[in-house]
């Protein structure tokens, strides 16, 4: 039986779908089989990020209605045969599916895949409840901003109330220069509030946006960029490897930078 992990955040636009796509790819590169479930009914875009949009024929709804088999709805990735996407319906609202149905689909998927990653929609309403219903674990994505962290904190409370206790944190879009200039929350600040273990740190990097637009996850590059390394490190940690945290400060940790920080204190 595979692990069912929901990628969630509370606040919108912090990088859930980007994280889901890259972790899926990274895990398959490590030899695992991974099913990605898009739980963002109505606003699906996981297929876009993976560059699989033109291959979507059926969605989860047709599977549930018995109009097709699960196997037919799964979109297999030609670049990574271990990876499959179960698309969400584009034109239905979030109440088109129930938590029990999500559970049913996820359980079918765990029979065939090592991992089932669920891309959760923003918010804490019915779409969120659908997405977390099947999950045993959660990866909580936040950016180092007060509003995002507040929402993330709220989500931790809701996950715990739903019995999901294994929760790890991904801090996305970190800008070390801004942290050093005291213009952004540091990872320590974020962790102090959320008090859950870190799964990884991802820098703010335009290559993430470029890869999103091209539908080519970063972890597929042969020469990994810093954010690409960041995502594959998270995948390795999921697999139980002890990988030290990326030192995002390194490029700025010059003598002058340190002196400046010292005098700014």
């Amino acid at each position: 039986m595979g692990r069912i992990i929901v990628i969630t955040s509370g606040k919108g636009g912090v990088g859930k779908t980007t994280t889901t796509a890259n972790l899926g790819m990274a895990l398959t590169r490590m030899g695992r089989t991974v099913a990605l479930m898009d739980a963002d009914f109505g606003l699906r875009n996981l297929d876009l990020l993976l560059g699989l949009e033109n291959r979507v024929v059926y969605t989860a709804l047709e599977v549930l209605a018995g109009d097709c088999r699960l196997e037919q709805a799964l979109v297999r990735d030609k670049r990574q045969p271990g990876l499959a996407l179960l698309p969400a319906a584009q034109n239905r609202n979030k109440d088109a599916i129930t938590p029990e149905q999500m559970q049913q689909l996820a359980e079918l998927l765990t029979e065939k895949f090592d991992y089932v990653l669920i891309d959760c929609p923003a918010g804490i309403e019915s779409g969120f409840k659908n997405a977390i219903a099947p999950a045993q674990e959660a990866l909580l994505v936040t950016t180092p901003e007060i509003a995002a962290v507040r929402d993330a904190d709220r989500v931790v409370g809701l996950l715990e109330a739903h019995g999901i206790r294994k929760i790890a944190l991904i801090v996305n879009r970190i800008r070390p220069q801004m942290v050093q200039a005291n213009n952004m929350m540091s990872v320590a600040d974020v962790q102090e509030i959320l008090a859950i273990p870190l799964a990884g740190l991802v820098p703010d990097d335009e290559r993430v946006i470029i890869s999103t637009n091209r539908g080519e996850p970063l972890v597929l590059e042969s020469n990994l960029s810093l954010p690409g390394i960041a995502f594959s490190n998270i995948a390795r940690r999921l697999e139980g490897e002890k990988v030290p945290l990326l030192d995002l400060d390194a490029p700025y940790n010059t003598l002058i930078g340190r002196l400046r920080r010292f005098f700014n204190r």
């Binding site: 309403e125 507040r150 929402d151 904190d153 709220r154 931790v156 409370g157 109330a161 509030i193 008090a195």
Partner: protein
């Protein structure tokens, strides 16, 4: 206050469902209340659910009784103003009291509510007695007590002690960095926290004042320390 209220009632416990919240939000609140709280009630205590005008159907009652069963609580009575709710409750086998929502009754002899997990953003816990929390109140979290509030951790959200108007109540925290403190009818904002020592908030005259815990007993005659 959009707070859930669990308090001793005529027979066992009264569970008052706040009327403003939609069902989904109410479900979250109920789950969080029971997950955070150590049982202060007796096992198998009978529960009266006070619904006001809220419409609850058979499915709602099934969910609620399932949740309460896990806490060793048994719904026996339903208080409602709505006919549809009365019918569904009777079908589920509960005795029904029809009429307008009774005002909550304060009780001085209520056991303290003991919480052993962080009160996170979006969580509001209300108790008609004293609340003891081992953990932090995060920004966006809220504790309301008719008695005192004791936080063995960082208080960064909102705390309201003496919520029924009792200004003799205290708020104590290992680190007082509350967004807002309220005691009785008074409201105060705490200065940005520089202090990392335990503090006590109490009412003096017509203002809320903060004392380092070690000075509290000396400066306030009859203080608790």
């Amino acid at each position: 206050m959009t707070c859930l209220l669990v308090q001793p009632g005529a027979a066992g416990l009264d569970l008052t469902l706040p009327p403003e919240l939609d069902w989904s939000h109410l479900q979250d609140l109920l789950q969080q209340y029971f997950q955070l709280s150590e049982a202060w009630w007796l096992p198998q205590a009978p529960v009266r659910v006070v619904c006001g005008a809220r419409i609850l159907d058979g499915e709602h009652w099934q969910w609620l009784s399932g949740l309460l069963q896990k806490q060793k609580l048994i719904i026996t009575t339903v208080q409602t103003e709505a006919r549809a709710t009365a019918v569904a409750a009777a079908m589920a086998g509960y005795s029904v009291e029809q009429g307008i929502m009774p005002p909550p009754t304060a009780s001085a002899t209520l056991p303290a509510l003991y919480l052993d997990q962080a009160v996170r953003a979006g969580v509001e816990i209300r108790h008609p007695g004293t609340v003891v929390l081992v953990g932090d109140v995060n920004p966006g979290g809220c504790l309301v007590a008719d008695g005192d509030i004791l936080v063995w951790g960082r208080l960064r959200g909102v705390a309201h002690a003496g919520a029924q108007g009792d200004s003799r109540r205290l708020i104590m925290a290992l680190e007082m960095a509350a967004t807002q403190l309220r005691i009785g009818e008074l409201v105060a904002r705490t200065p940005p926290s520089t202090a990392f020592y335990p503090e006590v908030a109490c009412v003096q005259g017509d203002a809320i004042v903060l004392y380092p815990a070690r000075d509290f007993g000396r400066t306030t005659p009859g203080g608790v320390f």
